[in-house]
């Protein structure tokens, strides 16, 4: 680094306190909800409609959505006195709860980090070394790289974001705590490893090996060998459903229930064939796969046909990722385009021509998009807000062909598995700073892990509840709309030979 570089050294600061959505001004605006206890008994009696209305301006998206849903409850339209009264009290209780939840947002004091240069130069010039030199030591240790020989590597972060598993194609497997760099397990599997994935706890993991899928425990002892899953290629674990999905090189998709060891469903993905990438929509448990023909298809273990197929690219898809809320997905194709789609409407939001071949991509919790291009990784910021990808936020050179990129949840860290090992880089402002402590607990003790394991088992969502819109389960069943096929007055008798042909035509 030259002298000039030192002069214009960039700073990575903690953000100045942004105005919280529920500021003090907001509190005074909504006296009904936030009135001090015991100050005025009459004030408490203000109706819930007012409370719900007040929420709209001040709280986070999720709470506002809840408030909107709660507004739909109309006790006066109930046909029964008891129902009316019950609904009234219930609505009031719900309104109070929403207000409390909105209040509790004040406790989320953590703020997202960001990268800012002093001289206003563009951020993608900033090197990792510069970032690490201007932040605290503890965070700086999260930027590291491992030079390993058995690459290219695929990897997976555990649910609590603490453990990391690496799987090199040439059979090397390593599990370690990436924050402290404590090695928990290292093993040579003596055959090629296509993919690795943690199961619900980081003491169990699955490896897609040359012929079959194997399950191992923390000591590297093989627990199961799933011989039904021939030629596995990609693994994806569904944590809420406790299902392990395996996409094979033969074009099959298998779902394994890891609680009972039963195969829930396995089918061939027909014309979609051998997927280049699969990704899980965490909001509903639907699996997305990107195939040869540039189609992104959505699968559930309940049907052998795809629910939805979207023509995203003109050529084969190389990378696919869904954001953690299940609102967007991004895909890259060998046609050199990176596209962002809205899952709710299936509409293409933006498309971007990239120089070089994008081998993989990932969306972070705060909608940063990381692209693995050759030996480089590029990160784009807030891809859902801006119109397309304009200029990269960060750029990083790893020195080996990138095979997988993945953001670590609730951390400003991007993991990169490549030809010559693994790299972990800092991407300020990529992770959601507010931790949901019930599931993502990086400080989880052994007892807590066991507790969580039991809780996850109890809270398991059955595979038959996977659907595009999981809230359908809350709706009262409607009789299916019948299309009345009016028979024509006269029906010509079909020629028998043609009828046979017609029957076969469908297949």
């Amino acid at each position: 680094m030259g002298k000039e570089d030192v002069k214009r050294l960039r700073h990575i600061k903690k953000a100045p306190k942004p105005v919280k959505k529920l500021g003090k001004a907001a509190l005074t605006d909504a006296p009904t909800v936030y009135a001090k206890r015991g100050q005025n008994a009459v004030k408490k009696e203000i109706d819930e409609a007012q409370i719900l209305k007040n929420i709209h301006g001040h709280a986070g998206d999720a709470v506002v959505l809840r408030a909107k849903a709660a507004e739909k409850i109309n006790p006066n339209r109930a046909r029964d006195v008891v129902t009316k009264a019950k609904l009234k009290t219930h609505k009031k209780r719900i309104a109070e709860g929403i207000a409390k939840t909105a209040e509790a947002e004040l406790l989320n004091t953590e703020e997202a980090g960001y990268l800012k240069t002093d001289d206003g130069s563009l951020t993608y010039n900033v090197k990792q070394a510069e970032i690490t030199s201007s932040i605290d030591l503890a965070t700086a240790t999260r930027s590291f790289s491992l030079d390993l020989e058995h690459g290219p590597y695929r990897f997976d972060y555990g649910i609590n974001g603490r453990e990391l598993i690496l799987g090199g194609r040439r059979g090397h497997i390593g599990v370690f705590d990436w924050m402290t760099k404590d090695l928990l397990l290292e093993k040579d599997l003596l055959e090629s490893v296509k993919d690795v994935s943690f199961l619900h706890v980081s003491t169990l993991f699955a490896a897609a090996q040359r012929r079959w899928v194997h399950l191992y425990d923390e000591q590297g002892i093989e627990l199961h060998c799933m011989k039904q899953f021939n030629e596995p290629k990609l693994l994806q674990f569904l944590p809420r459903h406790l299902l392990l999905s395996v996409a094979t090189g033969t074009g099959y998709l298998h779902y394994l229930d890891i609680t009972s060891g039963k195969i829930v469903n396995s089918f061939r993905m027909k014309e979609h064939g051998n997927p280049g990438a699969i990704s899980l929509n965490q909001s509903n448990g639907v699996l997305l796969s990107g195939g040869h023909h540039g189609q992104v298809t959505m699968w559930t273990p309940n049907a052998k046909e795809p629910l939805v197929s979207i023509k995203a690219h003109t050529s084969s898809i190389t990378g696919l990722t869904v954001d953690h809320l299940g609102n967007y997905f991004a895909s890259s194709g060998s046609d050199g385009l990176v596209k962002l789609f809205d899952i709710r409407t299936y509409k293409q939001l933006s498309s971007y021509k990239v120089r070089g071949r994008v081998s993989c991509l990932d969306l972070s919790q705060r909608h940063n998009l990381a692209l693995g291009i050759g030996q480089h990784v590029q990160v784009f910021q807030h891809v859902n807000r801006t119109s397309g990808l304009q200029k990269p936020y960060l750029s990083h050179f790893v020195g080996g062909d990138v095979r997988q990129v993945q953001f670590c949840a609730h951390e400003d860290v991007l993991g990169i598995g490549h030809e010559r090992g693994f790299a972990s880089i800092l991407v300020p402002g990529s992770g959601d700073p507010d931790m949901a402590g019930l599931l993502h607990n990086p400080f989880e003790s052994k007892a807590q892990r066991r507790e969580r394991e039991v809780k996850m088992l109890l809270d398991k969502i059955q595979p038959n509840m996977i659907a595009l819109d999981p809230s359908t389960i809350n709706r009262v069943r409607k009789a299916p709309e019948k299309v009345i096929d009016v028979k024509p007055a006269y029906e010509p008798k079909p020629d028998p030979t043609w009828a046979l042909l017609h029957r076969f035509k469908r297949r």
């Binding site: 209780r93 023909h293 540039g294 309940n302 939805v308 050529s315 119109s387 996977i466 809230s471 809350n474």
Partner: protein, 762 residues
Amino acid sequence: MSDAEDGGVDFSKVDWDDERRKNLIRSGAAPKVQVVKDLLGSIKSHKGLATVKKQLKVDTKKKKQREQTLKTPLHSQAQKRLGSKVAFKEVRNEVSAWEEIITENRIADQLVYPLNKEDRDVLKFESAVEKSQAFRPKTETERKMAELLGTSKNNLKNDEIYTEAEKEIINAMSVKEAKEKLKELQKQRRLMSFQQEKFARQAKIKSRQYHRIKKRQARKEAIKEFEELLAKDPEAAKEKLLVLQGDRAYERATLRHRGQNKWSKEIRTYASRNVELQKEMADHHRFGRELKQKLGNDLDESSSDSDGSDEDETLAGKKKLTLEEVMKLAADEAAEEAKSKQIESTETNPWLKASLSKLRAEKKAKQNETRLTEAEFAKRGGGSGEIDFEIPEDDPFAAPLEKLVKDAERAELQSQIETAKAKLLEKAKPAPVEATPTPKTKAAKRKAKKAAAEAAATPQTPKAAPEPEVEEAETPVPSKKAKKGKKATASVETSPVTPAADLSKVKLRDVFADVEKTVKEHVTTLAANKKAKRHATETAAEKKAARTAEAKELEAKAKAKKAAAPGVDIDLKSYLEASSATATNMPDNIEACLEEAEQQDMETDNMLAEAFAGDDVFQEFEDEKQRVEDDENPITEDVDVHSMGWGSWTGPGIAEKKKKKTIVKTKPHRKDGKTAHVIIRENVDQPITKLQPESVPFPYTRATEFEAVLQQPIGRDWNPTTYTAALTKPEIVAPAGRIIRPLSKETLRKRQNKAVSSDEED
């Protein structure tokens, strides 16, 4: 009235009908009392009876009117209906009284059973107060006790803080005194708690250092104590020594500190590199094992009789005199000396101090002696045969021996290491001359190598890189090469002149020649490619024309289709190929940064593009979409089944009938109707629908409310914990073992009374 004035009977007030009824009732066994006859008999004069007559006449008339024939009774059904109506009214009144309670209970947030208080109190535990109040002394002793207790001043009553006796004391004591006393008490309590805390904290300490120091302290104290005891009471000292020895022997025999001392730690670290040390360690382990085997059986017995084992005596006669032995000897001597003396301590007899110091001096001298012998022992080289190796480093009993052995070994090790180093240095000396080129020349070399590799690769694979647009590809390639060449030369110029650099210069010249060559070749091959491509495009154009003709037909078909389906207005191809942002938006240095990657991937991309060039990807997708649509709704549209001549007369002279309107069947609305690039399968089996409720459950009356309520999350993931608790509160709480009685009228009456009383209050 006049009759009344006359003292006669006033008949006006007689209810005749009533009388008659009475008579009727009395008829039967009762004697007949003819009231009217009697009354009439008492009339003596006719004077003034006109009014009575009139009255009577009126009455009879009325009677006549009344005594008509009875009306026909109601039809039995109507009668029943009336009856039921009345009964219903009554029952309704009775039941509606409960209505209020029932609705209240239904609306209530939470019902805790049993609902009435009396039932709740049934299972209540009797409190001590209640029990004591209920107690009545019965037996003689009880009565006496009660008497005694009753008169005692030390009875503490519930409503008072002090007993009478205490009150007396308080009255007698001044405030100042009381305060002091209180302070003292508080202080004591505080001290106690401090001490407690301290002990608790100390008990929790896990630090090794702490325990080591503590142990050392204890040991020192034990020695000191022992010495004092020696002066005071030699017999007791001997016993004490036995105990101490026993403890120590047990500790050693159990081999608790194996491998924890400094020596074994150090030897372990060096053993991997030194064969001799390895041997020594093996010996050491063997000894340990033997010892353990030997002592294994009688570990539990007192192993203080180490003299019994004669095997070791030959090995180390002098060596065995460790500090224990020294102490033992001293104790014996002292015991002999002070056999006749009385038990005295240093405090009582200052002369004893002299003897104590003498003792210490003696001990020291003996220790020195042993140390010397140990040194000799070490010189002999019998260190490996040492048995007592598991002694912790800070052990005062055996430290010197250990130290000496270790020092000797360390010296040996050091010398070994040094010789090894020297050898290494000698070996390494000639190497750096060859193996340290300047970094810049190295970089240049690397570049040159790369260029050479490329030069080698390009002529072999002329087909490998057919650029899509030759005009574009032609210019940048040589320029890139030139840039690289420039860079290389620059580096050579700046690098200091060294023999190595000269060497690289020579090589570089060759490399430049190679690069020139390859560039030329590349250009020629590109030109050839261009030609070939032009030819190919010409032939392809013909093919394309044919294909486009087909495609046009297909398009026309598709358009027709689209016209039929109104919503679809997006061209899939244009939709897919459009990109909102292009590479032109990219900053320059990013391009430079990506140059390499691009170069690598261009080939594969182009290959893929060629491979898929023939496929009509869009048509395929559209076809599939059509197929799915047809599969899901197999309704054929607008089939005209009326063929000519059927269903109508025909022939000369018959006017043609108006054609019947064909039945227009519209296909149902599809979710993906308006999007060309999406196929949504609607008939896919969704088992989640089977889990949906079939009807709106009680108490909801409309689906919208039910759904809106269900949509509100109640879990801890979405709510503050307190609120989750409020939401998941059980509606009915019925503890086990409680009787839940049906509602009684009593409760109703009570409620009514309450309501009335509260009204009155208002």
